[in-house]
Assembly symmetry: C2
Amino acid sequence: MPGTFIPAREAVREKLSWGSLAWCCRPEGIGAEQLVVIEVTLAPGGGHAFHKHPEQEEVIYTIDGQVEQWLDREKRVMCPGDCVFIPAGVVHASFNASQRDAKLLAILGPSLGGPTGYKVVEVADQAPWNKLS
Amino acid sequence: MPGTFIPAREAVREKLSWGSLAWCCRPEGIGAEQLVVIEVTLAPGGGHAFHKHPEQEEVIYTIDGQVEQWLDREKRVMCPGDCVFIPAGVVHASFNASQRDAKLLAILGPSLGGPTGYKVVEVADQAPWNKLS
């Protein structure tokens, strides 16, 4: 595949209970084999609770707003330009405790089959993650 | 390695003739094996001329400003939220034709040895790339 431009208005979008996604890069429709890139909008009070990607590294880059980012049991507030590197299998979570939208870029390593190339294990209902805040 | 936060003020930075880089993710100091992520600032009139990454896919995501982006022989202007997927080995270039800084995120696939994990072949002095504008 020769590559492709993905203008923001043409990105595949998904509405979630806690925000929305725009798929910038994935196997389906784009042909990527090494990269999964998702522009994530966190609504005020929303977020992606504790989860992990067993086989994929992730970098989260903060584009806009403030994000309460967990890396294992450590929490920091990320502002635009801040990022976090999450090795494969490490539990993490991102919350928006502010009053306006926050936007980040979720970048994951080699996609492992399936149209989105995104594999996630949710652990928010398990200890110790169900006790953290 | 357990992962790490990289606040913007702590990122390793490099000054270039056409702008500057902030390394968000690479093998050296961070331990990444699957991802290379660089926040790139293009000064007005500056840019990274035609080049390719023989073994690494790349996604360029526009954070701020306007970028004249080449994908092989096709040129488009990218604005914030726009991105481009560049397969391994495909020639590309990014220029800032505006009067103010432009910022983008360069995201590359599996790093292949070396501290930065970034491998590039410059081709701007070769045909047909030396005739395009």
